[in-house]
């Protein structure tokens, strides 16, 4: 059977090129892989290899021909006993021919059209579970709540292990893993060298193979060394594998500004990870949420970024005494109901929101306060419902303003509840500067309760 040799494309964008040289002539024998011609574009010269063995039966495009369209038949190989004359050569590009055997089309340039991308399906997320009446509430620090969450999940699932710097023998740089080494041993509580990129990748590989790693970053500032593994490997593998394998794991550690640690140790990454499809991003404020959401994160079959805050670790909150207290990821919580303005925040930002809410009450402004708890998926339904009631919104976060969580929420409110707004959405954020060290400057760089109060007064015109 004769084989047609087509003008190849060197790249998906190439449409035509010059057939600069033939290295064989009609009648020559060639083997698969032999270089038979050279083609040229404005960018490169490339060799054309024979894709099959045979005799060059016909050369249909002479050397030196310019503007040869991709997929034009440039030569025909024949087998022994065949003659080129037996083969009708059509010199138009193959994909323009509509013979019955060649009705396939190369879908090269169609991607750009994107005529009608289907709508993203909405995922239903369960409400918080009811806490039975009479359940005892135990005052617990955020630190203990996080530790308890890990310990409980490690007891119930032996695929769960925790790895990170100083998590085992040192008992945790911030003592979050205190006691875990004693209970679970060195096999499941693993001290790593100081090598974020490496151990994050090892964690992702272990998760792809079926384990349930909890990777602790001493702080999320150091996770920037590992962000390629988090974004390119953990978040995208499920999609790239067509659902065959993913990375069921948790990346956790303190996020955002601690106190007086300067620019490289004081940054909020909520917006960074919130940007990435394939990740879930959780940022709890109190101890009960920290526990219930970390347990959910460890059980979640997807990669979860769990953003904690060093300043919150030692603070105590009531946590229900239940055998298995788990909260849904992706559900905001209304911290306080109100009617005049909605304050939306998460993580340590809730401190400003709660204190501002109290200050506003004294001014006669009844603020509704929403704790997002999860950054991705973002519970806009709860926010929008609130905006429809209060008609005003202030977002509060310690992160930088540009492309931040507040920017996203403001945009979504504009899209979904524009007609309900009685004032522009305002945001209170960290200032657009690297975190300074000096105490007075650091204070200026962070949001303040007063800024929240002023913003609320401005949108309520009081």
């Amino acid at each position: 059977m004769a084989t047609e040799i087509l003008m190849p494309a060197l790249s998906p964008t190439m449409e035509e090129g010059t057939l600069s040289k033939w290295l064989v002539k009609e009648g020559d024998d060639v083997a698969a892989g032999d270089v038979i011609a050279e083609i040229e574009t404005d960018k490169a010269t490339m060799e054309v290899e024979a894709v099959d063995e045979g005799k060059v039966g016909r050369i249909s495009v002479a050397e030196g021909t310019e503007g040869v369209k991709v997929n034009t038949v440039i030569a025909v190989l024949v087998e022994e006993g065949e003659s080129a004359d037996d083969v009708a050569v059509n010199t138009t590009p193959a994909d323009e021919q509509l013979s019955s055997s060649e009705k396939t089309e190369a879908p090269v340039q169609e991607a750009g059209s994107a005529a009608s991308a289907p709508a993203a399906p909405a995922a239903a997320i369960a409400d918080d579970p009811d806490i039975p009446s009479g359940t005892e509430m135990i005052s617990t620090t955020v630190r203990e709540a996080l530790r308890d969450a890990m310990a409980e999940e490690m007891r119930s699932d032996d695929r769960v292990f925790v790895m990170g710097e100083e998590v085992a023998e040192y008992q945790g740089a911030y003592k979050i893993t205190q006691g875990l080494l004693d209970e679970f041993g060195a096999k499941r509580v693993i001290d790593t060298p100081i090598t974020e990129h490496g151990f994050a990748g090892i964690g992702v590989g272990a998760a792809m193979a079926g384990l349930r790693p909890i990777v602790e970053f001493m702080t999320f500032n150091f996770a920037m060394q590992a962000i390629d593994q988090i974004v390119n490997s953990a978040a995208k593998t499920l999609y790239m594998s067509g659902g065959q394998m993913g990375a069921p794991m948790v990346f956790r550690g303190p996020n955002g500004a601690a106190a007086r640690v300067g620019a490289q140790h004081s940054q909020c990454y909520a917006a960074w990870y919130g940007h990435i499809p394939g990740l879930k991003v959780v940022a709890p404020y109190g101890a009960a949420d920290a526990k219930g959401l970390l347990k959910a994160a460890i059980r979640d079959p997807n990669p979860v970024i769990f953003l904690e805050n060093e300043i919150m670790y030692g603070q105590s909150f009531d946590v229900p005494k239940m055998d298995d207290f788990v909260l849904p990821i992706g559900k905001a919580r209304i911290q306080k109901e109100g009617s005049d303005v909605t304050l939306v925040s998460f993580g340590i930002g809730m401190k400003y929101a709660i204190e501002a809410g109290a200050a506003l009450a004294e001014l006669g402004i009844d603020a509704e306060i929403i704790d997002l708890r999860t950054i991705r998926p973002l519970d806009m339904e709860t926010v929008i419902t609130s905006i429809k009631k209060t008609n005003r919104c202030i977002t509060i976060e310690e992160g930088f303003p540009q492309s931040g969580i507040g920017a996203e929420i403001g945009m979504q409110i504009m899209q979904q509840a524009f007609d309900y707004l009685d004032a522009p959405v305002l945001r209170v954020t960290g200032k657009d500067v690297p975190m300074p060290y000096a105490a007075n400057l650091e204070k200026l760089a962070l949001p303040s309760v007063d800024e929240v109060v002023q913003a609320a007064r401005s949108v309520t015109y009081k």
Binding site: H197, G201, V204, A209, N232, S241, G242
Partner: protein, 358 residues
């Protein structure tokens, strides 16, 4: 300062000369039986014919984006795969078609992924560089140079954690060998004695940069020195040598000695990707390698010499393979593109419903 260093020098007696970790020696190539030779011939030829067809489909516009062909390097995966047991895993970067075929993945599914069709291994959503098969223990197919080394080390961590007796073959190139995370992974793999075979496919060029222009130490078998990981140099153009080294390395890992490095001396005939005119090396260099060292031709010569098969029998094998590859190409060109609804699938897995107990 000078004084004190002299003083401490005279005080510290231990010799500090860098020395090669107690490494096993490069084993002799295995004396293949007739069956082994013919299987190797068939397996390598399958990869070559598949890649030639992929190159052809790329040239016709059926395959988009980047497409990195494995032609010339076939002996590496073919020999290594013969050294593995059920459950052992494989992970590599983006020059991955050969690895997938060696893992016994269906050529149709691989080719259809190259053309971005629904019958592809990733249902068209991964492409040439991002393909996986859980069933065949192939963990990708990764587009970030070097990232697969940490991931493969993590897969080996899983083997160690579960004590399943499996090893993870982690492939990377001479180019990736200069990435930082490779050494972070080496350190932890040795520290924790993880069963991982680091296979450096040294094809001499990291895209267009030769090893001598990119690497301070071009003997890649010694790249584990700082971590006491042994390494051996292997003729990656001889499938028998590769299999011998693979068996040695797998035994090494399975006996609890931790990681080992195999420096596979190999060569790619084609450019880095389809759009690479390969001007950084001479035609003579490529031609000489093809003429003298071709892994498939070497098997063919031995088989003919021993009269285990004649030209016609080998041609029959080639014909079989061409038929399989032609089928795969046919399927990959005619299979539909993924349903538009696939845009939003496989981003997150659903969460099991919560149960609450008081």
């Amino acid at each position: 300062m000078a004084k004190s260093s002299t003083a401490s020098k005279s005080k510290s007696s231990p010799k500090k000369t860098a020395r090669q970790p107690a490494a096993p020696k490069t084993p002799r190539p295995i004396d293949f039986t007739k069956e082994q030779e013919l299987k190797a011939y068939r397996d390598m030829l399958m990869i070559r014919r598949f890649e030639e067809k992929a190159g052809q489909l790329y040239g016709m516009g059926f395959i988009g984006g980047f497409c990195h062909l494995y032609i010339g390097q076939e002996a590496v995966v073919t020999g290594m795969q013969s050294a593995l047991i059920e459950g052992d895993q494989v992970i590599t970067a983006y020059r991955d078609h050969g690895h997938m075929l060696a893992c016994d993945m269906d050529p149709k599914g691989v080719m259809a992924e190259l053309t971005g069709r629904q019958g592809g291994y990733s249902r068209g959503k991964g492409g040439s560089m991002h393909m996986f098969s859980k069933e065949k223990n192939f963990y990708g197919g990764h587009g970030i140079v070097g990232a697969q080394v940490s991931l493969g080390t993590g897969i080996a961590f899983n083997n160690n954690y579960r004590e399943n007796g499996n090893v993870c073959c982690t492939y990377f190139g001479d180019g990736a060998s200069n990435q930082g995370q490779v050494y972070e992974s080496f350190n932890m793999a040795k520290l924790w004695s993880l069963p991982v075979i680091y296979i450096i496919e040294n094809n001499r060029y990291a895209m267009g940069t030769s090893v001598t222009r990119s690497s301070a130490l071009t003997d890649f078998s010694r790249r584990g020195c700082s971590f006491n990981i042994p390494g051996i140099e292997v003729d990656g153009m001889d499938v028998r040598a590769v299999q011998a080294a693979g068996e040695l390395a797998a035994d090494w890992c399975r006996s609890g000695k931790g990681p080992i490095i195999l420096d596979m001396q190999t060569y790619r005939y084609r450019g880095h990707s389809m759009s690479d005119p390969a001007k950084y090396r001479t035609k003579d260099e490529v031609q000489k390698m093809r003429a003298e060292n071709d892994p498939i031709e070497r098997v063919k010569q031995r088989v003919m010499q021993k009269k285990w098969a004649d030209e016609d029998e080998l041609k029959a094998i080639d014909k079989d393979i061409r038929a399989v590859v032609a089928d795969a190409a046919e399927f990959a060109q005619n299979d539909p593109e993924p349903d538009p609804a696939e845009l939003y699938t496989d981003i997150l897995l659903p969460v099991a419903p919560m149960t609450v107990e008081a």
